[in-house]
Subunit: 229 residues, 2 copies
DNA sequence: AGGCTACTGTCAGATTCTGGCAGTATCCGT
DNA sequence: ACGGATACTGCCAGAATCTGACAGTAGCCT
C-alpha cells in the first residue's frame, strides 16, 4: 500500500474512533510501527488535518474528512463555486460561513491565474435573502445529524399555534423559505414546518428511536416525490 | 520537492500550454528525466487526470484542474453538497450535469459510511425550477469564459424588441430568473438581460477588446452593489 | 508517584524512486 | 514512402526516501 493511501486510511481510522485513540492502537490497525505513525500524523497535520494529540490520552480528529487529489473540469468547478456562493447567501449563518470557508480552502490551493478567475468569477448569486431566520438553523442541522428530538412552538398557515416535539430528519431549502421535515410526535405523522413559523426552538438531548435514513426513505415513499431526487 | 508536489506542478505546466507539449519539454521544465516524466504522466492518468499523449505531437490536458488532498469539516461538506444540489436543479443543463458529476466524483472517493450520509443527505433543495430556458446558457458561459461577443434579440420589460450585440462578463442567478450582465454595444453602456427574454442567441467569434475582470470591477463600482460581494 | 502516552533524534536496513539505455509503435510533414 | 519527432515499455543499478527499532524527554491522568 502506498504511503498516500495509508494516510487516507489513517484519517478514516481516526474518524471511526470518536474517543481518543493511542498511537500504538492506530499503528497496529494500519500494520506499521509506532514511529512511522508519528511521522504520518505530522504529515497529515502539515496538510491541514485537525488532528490533536494529547499525552496520556491519544489522538482525536475533529469531525470532518479528507478528500484525496481530485480532478475537476472547468464546468465542475464553476458549478461548485456557484453552488457554494448560493449557500453562502443563505440565512443559515453557520452553514453560510462553512460555504465561504470551503471556497477559501479551494482558492488557497489554486494557482494564481485560476484564483483570479475564481475571485472575479462570472457566475453570481443574488440578491442575498432578505429574511432573517428567527431560529438557529445550525441547531436543526445538528439535531438531524445526531438524530435528536426538537421541541418548538409552531404557528401554522391558519395562524393556529401549537407546541410540538418532533424527530427531524431533513431540511429543505426553497427559494424563499426553509422547511424542517420531521416525524411529529404530537400528530404521529410526517409533518413539514416552515422555519419562519417556528419559535422557541429547543434541542432535546434524547435520541429518537429511528434511523434518519429510514425515515427519509419512508417519507419519500409516502409523498411519492414527483420530481425525483 | 516531493513527488506529489511535482505531480501538481506537472498538471499546472500542462494547463499553461494549450497546444500539445512534448514530454522532453515538460521534463526539462520540471527538472526531471524523460523517463520519470512518463511515469508521472501514468500516475496522474491513474488519478483521473484527462491527459492525452499522441505520438509525434506531445501531451494535452483537457481544460480543468486538480485539487491536492483537502480537509473539510462536516459543515463545509454539507455546504458544498447542498450548493451542488442547488446548481444541479438549475435550468442550465450542462452546468447542472457538471454539478451532478462533481458530486459523483466526491462521493466516489468517500468511505462507505460517509457516502451513505451523503446520498441520504438531509439537506434538500426543491422544487426544481419549472422554467425551461429558451436559450443555451452553456453558450453564454462559454462566451464569458472566452471573452467573446454575443448577438441576440431582446424583448424588454415594456415589450419592445431590439437586436443587440453585447460583451458578456457575468451571469447572475436569481430565484426565478437568470440575468446576463454585459456591456451593450448598441447602447454603449452596461445592461442586464433576463435570459427568458433573449431569443436567437448567437455566439460571435470575435473577442471583445476588454478584460472581463476589469469590466466586472467597473460594473460593480457603477452600480455600487448595495449588499456586498 | 507511577503508568500511559505524545513526541524527537539517530541510524541502519528495506523500499521506492530515478535516470539511462535499448527497443517498438505511431503520427506528421515532405 | 520516408525520415524525424514523439509516445511508450522493460530493465537495471545507483540515489533518495521511508521505515522500524531503540533511547530519551515531557505532559496528562489516577
Amino acid at each position: 500500500m502506498s504511503r498516500s493511501e495509508r494516510l487516507l486510511d489513517l484519517i478514516q481510522s481516526l474518524r471511526r474512533h470518536r474517543r481518543p485513540v493511542s498511537g500504538q492502537a492506530l499503528a497496529d490497525e494500519l500494520g506499521i510501527s509506532i514511529r512511522t505513525l508519528y511521522r504520518d500524523i505530522v504529515t497529515l497535520q502539515g496538510q491541514g488535518a485537525p488532528i490533536e494529540g494529547e499525552a496520556g490520552l491519544g489522538y482525536v480528529l475533529k469531525p470532518g474528512f479528507m478528500l484525496p487529489p481530485l480532478m475537476f473540469s472547468d464546468e465542475e468547478i464553476e458549478a461548485i463555486v456557484l453552488g457554494s456562493r448560493w449557500v453562502a447567501k443563505q440565512p443559515d449563518r453557520r452553514l453560510s460561513a462553512a460555504a465561504a470557508n470551503a471556497l477559501a480552502k479551494i482558492a488557497a490551493v489554486l494557482p494564481d491565474d485560476l484564483r483570479e478567475d475564481l475571485d472575479a468569477s462570472t457566475l453570481l448569486v443574488g440578491p442575498p435573502a432578505e429574511v432573517i431566520e428567527g431560529i438557529d438553523l445550525g441547531l436543526v442541522r445538528q439535531a438531524i445529524r445526531n438524530e435528536r428530538k426538537l421541541a418548538f412552538h409552531y404557528r401554522d398557515a391558519g395562524g393556529a399555534a401549537s407546541q410540538r416535539v418532533v424527530w427531524p430528519f431533513a431540511l429543505g431549502f426553497f427559494d424563499k423559505v426553509r422547511v424542517v421535515v420531521a416525524w411529529c410526535e404530537t400528530r404521529q405523522d410526517f409533518r413539514h414546518f416552515r422555519t419562519d413559523r417556528i419559535a422557541e426552538l429547543k434541542p432535546i438531548d434524547t435520541r429518537y428511536p429511528r434511523r434518519r435514513q429510514a425515515m427519509l426513505k419512508e417519507w419519500r415513499a409516502t409523498f411519492d416525490r414527483p420530481r425525483g431526487s
